[in-house]
């Protein structure tokens, strides 16, 4: 899919911004703090109904205003047009999403309709941060490609919080808990097994995409791999019933420990995604450069995976990557974007960008200054 036009109203430092959007690569230049990332964040609202980094809706409202609106015309791969409006009112604390002027009641249902892949400085956590950072990565990918996954995830998190409260209170000696725990166990197991199974399946499906993407960026020589370490010891070869049995058994075994610690110790919220290069743990052994290559490969793989699964080409948002990546890697990535559908790129240093892009001019260029965007140069379709 591609965006034809994107409008931001009282969104962060953009009072009223309108972007025509080239169908290929769009590059936003500007100094620090002028409002480039804010544009990508707005696009993320259109695709994921929220900011791509942990940030509340209220903070995106322009200072002194009561709400924001982000709108766009999107055109799908088979040429169907959609009008999307996301608006948030701080007064009513309410976010509304409309597609073709019809309000979407269940907001999560549009996720995956307009798939997106984001590479931003915050993503460095995916390879170097905590297990939670890696779980967030796969959750966003799977949610976009599988409708019921997101629903399971939302319910699972709610059940988990409820169950943890029961355990916490029982630890504090306020109530005895087995009877109170039991009503939550059944659906913790059901939803949890579903999530773990889906993740295990994802890891298997995703592997060849990762290997392929890694070769595109770093050439041959290093072999990346992705593995799934599930706390209920499930893997892709099990049936859902078997996974549930495993989950139930683990839960039973941790019963005393859970009471003691006052929290749920088993389930997909404890899962870990394991990245390796040539069989060595990325987290423990990889150099900074390898981390960066791996991350870019993950994102490129995500792009092709989603394109296949959603039967829709994702838009690609690259925030500030050219100050994060070194020369050769950024050149590779830029060269790749020529064939990756519609891309939105931010950069501070036009000179550096031009070097990395090898002076090619098939980019639509915009300048961003104090929340205002001026169109500088049209995309020249040379290839």
């Amino acid at each position: 899919m591609k965006f034809r036009e994107v409008r931001l109203q009282t969104f962060r430092n953009h009072e009223a911004t309108e972007i025509g959007c080239a169908l290929g690569r769009n590059v936003f230049f500007g100094n620090n703090g002028e409002g480039k990332t804010n544009i990508l964040e707005a696009i993320s609202y259109l695709c994921l109904t929220k900011s791509f980094y942990a940030s509340s809706d209220a903070t995106a409202v322009q200072f002194g205003q009561s709400g924001f609106t982000v709108s766009a015309i999107a055109v799908s791969d088979i040429d169907v047009s959609y009008k999307i409006d996301v608006s948030y009112s701080r007064d009513a604390k309410e976010k509304k999403i409309a597609v073709n002027n019809g309000v979407i009641e269940d907001k999560s249902s549009i996720i995956g309709m307009f798939p997106v892949v984001v590479l931003s400085p915050e993503n460095a956590n995916v390879t170097s941060g905590t297990p939670a950072d890696r779980r967030r990565f796969i959750d966003v990918v799977i949610s976009q490609s599988n409708k019921s996954y997101l629903q399971d995830l939302i319910e699972y998190r709610r059940i988990l919080r409820q169950r943890n409260r029961v355990l916490f209170e029982s630890k504090a000696g306020q109530r005895t808990s087995q009877d109170l725990l039991e009503p939550w166990n059944e659906n913790l197991i059901k939803r949890g097994s579903q999530i773990s199974q889906r993740r295990a399946q994802f890891v298997q499906e995703f592997s060849p995409y990762l290997v392929d993407a890694y070769i595109r960026i770093a050439g041959r020589g290093e072999e990346p791999s992705i593995g799934y370490d599930s706390s209920i010891k499930t893997d892709n070869s099990l049936t859902i019933e078997q996974a549930q049995t495993f989950f139930r058994r683990e839960l039973e075994q941790q019963r005393v420990e859970e009471q003691k610690l006052g929290t749920t110790l088993v389930g997909p919220h404890k899962d870990e995604l394991v990245f390796e290069i040539n069989g060595l743990s990325l987290k423990t052994f990889a150099s900074q450069g390898q981390h960066k290559t791996f991350l870019v490969a993950l994102k490129v793989a995500e792009f092709f995976y989603l394109r296949e699964q959603c039967q829709e080409t994702p838009v690609l948002l690259l925030d500030d990557v050219f100050s994060e990546l070194d020369g050769p890697r950024s050149e590779k990535l830029l060269a790749l974007t020529a064939n990756l559908g519609q891309t939105f790129i931010t950069a501070t240093d036009e000179q550096r960008f031009s070097t990395a892009s090898k002076q090619r001019n098939d980019f639509a260029r915009y300048f961003v200054r104090k929340g205002k965007v001026t169109f500088a140069k049209a995309e020249v379709l040379t290839n």
Binding site: S89, D91, A92, K93, E105, D106, Q151, I154, E155, R158, I159, R161, Q162, R163, R165, V166, E169, R175, D179, L180, E182, P183, W184, E186, N187
Partner: protein, 198 residues
């Protein structure tokens, strides 16, 4: 607000406490009240107080009513053999609209939610068990289709299982995350027809 009187502010604050009313709307409503005649305002205030004074909970099913027992519990034409358990009085209304169910109700007053400090003793669970006499043959659990409703269903079915009563739940054909109250009548009738034995 620069130009306002204290009592307007006070009224607006009261409106703002109502669900779905933001500060702006609360102010508009307060200013609207100012435009009404005194009689109209008195009638409005009386209606508010009457709701509180006259409406009570049925001593049998806990539904809201002005007579005790309520119209449903005291109606001999209702089947005394089945009890439909719901979370809130609104749910009784929603199910009554389908004309599909001829039995009695039991309003729990919510669903289990440890995060909100709601445990079994905060719901009318004991009262439900006390109603389980020989004449009751079927208990239909019709909680909202969300995680709290599900947990409540499991909790109640475990309590009811040892008793000689058939326990069913309405099929989960309702849109996920929605409340029973908002389900349209067709979906609800279908759900009532396709109930599952627990």
């Amino acid at each position: 607000m620069f130009y306002t009187a204290e009592s307007i502010e006070h009224l607006a604050e009261q409106f703002a406490q109502l669900p779905g009313i933001g500060r702006k709307t609360a102010h508009r409503l307060a200013l609207y009240v100012l435009k009404l005649s005194r009689d109209e305002v008195v009638a409005f205030a009386k209606a508010l107080v009457d709701v509180k004074d006259k409406v009570r909970y049925c001593s049998i099913c806990s539904n809201i009513t002005e007579t005790d027992p309520c119209g449903i519990c005291s109606n001999p034409k209702r089947e005394q053999t089945s009890i439909c358990v719901v979370e809130e009085p609104n749910d009784v209304l929603a199910i009554e609209k389908t004309h599909e169910f001829k039995g009695l109700y039991h309003v729990l007053g919510g669903a289990l939610s440890p995060l909100d400090g709601v445990g079994p003793e905060d719901l009318r669970v004991k009262e439900l068990l006390q109603r389980m006499s020989d004449s009751v043959e079927e208990v239909i659990l019709a909680m909202n289709p969300n995680v709290e409703g599900e947990a409540t269903t499991l909790y109640l079915s475990k309590l009811l299982k040892p008793l000689t009563v058939k326990v069913t739940r309405i099929a989960r054909g309702l849109p996920v995350g929605s409340d029973l109250e908002f389900a349209d009548e067709a979906t609800l009738s279908r759900a009532l027809e396709g109930r599952i034995t627990l």
